[in-house]
Symmetry: C2
Subunit: 172 residues, 2 copies
């Protein structure tokens, strides 16, 4: 059976520390609820499942937990490519500069009014796509959705489109 999941937001605000430090699941002493699975913890779980590659194509990226997830994958040797909107990349709070300084390949779309996608492909296998930008407001305050799927008829077109946009846009 092909994996399909839909996650809706806003997500409850809970501790997600265990996703980053799975070896010590009970050690966190922060004031947020623990042991609760939410749409956001599921999203982080899916992103962190990448073992080989992460292709991310997202308009707005300012969420620090999502940035931490991408940096963690980078630290584990996962090949990461990030395609983003040139205007949003420059605003205060954008994490794109953090990713670049960590050595992650980032390209900015220069050919359209807005690079409005919000999708990611993990290991050429699992697609995350929907309305959700990678911001704190999107996760905690907006009504949003993401589809998570391994259906090849859906994953493959996104892989091709990512490749098309990647080669089309300047690495500068």
């Amino acid at each position: 059976r092909i994996f399909n999941e839909v996650l809706f937001f806003p997500s409850e605000i809970v501790c997600v520390e265990h996703i980053f430090t799975p070896s010590s699941p009970y050690s966190c002493i922060c004031s947020l609820p623990h042991g609760v699975e939410t749409s956001f913890s599921r999203l982080l779980h899916h992103i962190m499942s990448a073992s080989n590659s992460l292709d991310l194509c997202v308009f707005a990226f300012s969420n620090m937990d999502l940035c931490r997830a991408v940096l963690a994958l980078h630290g584990k040797g996962v090949t990461i490519r990030v395609l983003t909107d040139k205007d949003y990349a420059a605003i205060t709070g954008s994490q794109i500069g953090v990713l670049r300084r960590a050595g992650i390949c980032v390209r900015c779309d220069v050919g359209s009014v807005y690079m409005h996608h919000k999708f990611a492909v993990m290991d050429g296998r699992l697609l995350i796509t929907g309305s959700l930008n990678w911001t704190l407001t999107a996760v905690q305050s907006n009504t949003e959705n993401i589809v998570v799927t391994e259906e090849p008829d859906l994953v493959q077109p996104f892989i091709k489109e990512f490749h098309r946009l990647w080669v089309h846009n300047d690495p500068a």
Copy 2:
């Protein structure tokens, strides 16, 4: 085999008159290209395929061709429910007022910062979801995607979420 399709934008600008008047496919004399299938014509085709119901949940709705499609379905007796963002509904160019004046049921999300969804369910069977708002800029100028699927594991959660949001939000 379950129907799955991915459409990418921006879409070429071509004549879509034949989708609204299929009985006279060769009669249009406008200056746009004819007989060309695009992502936007596919989107219109899928929307116009509704024979019983259309549940639409979209942040921004200003595209006049998409408004014409919804009005055409309404005229054919298709039951239409539109859930939208309260702030965007009030801006210049929004077609929400046009839909309301035509007698279509519209509700505005009042509980979140942004009602940022962009999905539609036709006949409880076919789901359209993605990054694309129902605006001219999204269709013609932005880099965008929509997933079109009949996969029940994806369609059913959106049906439930639409119901939840519909009953939760005020008809005023």
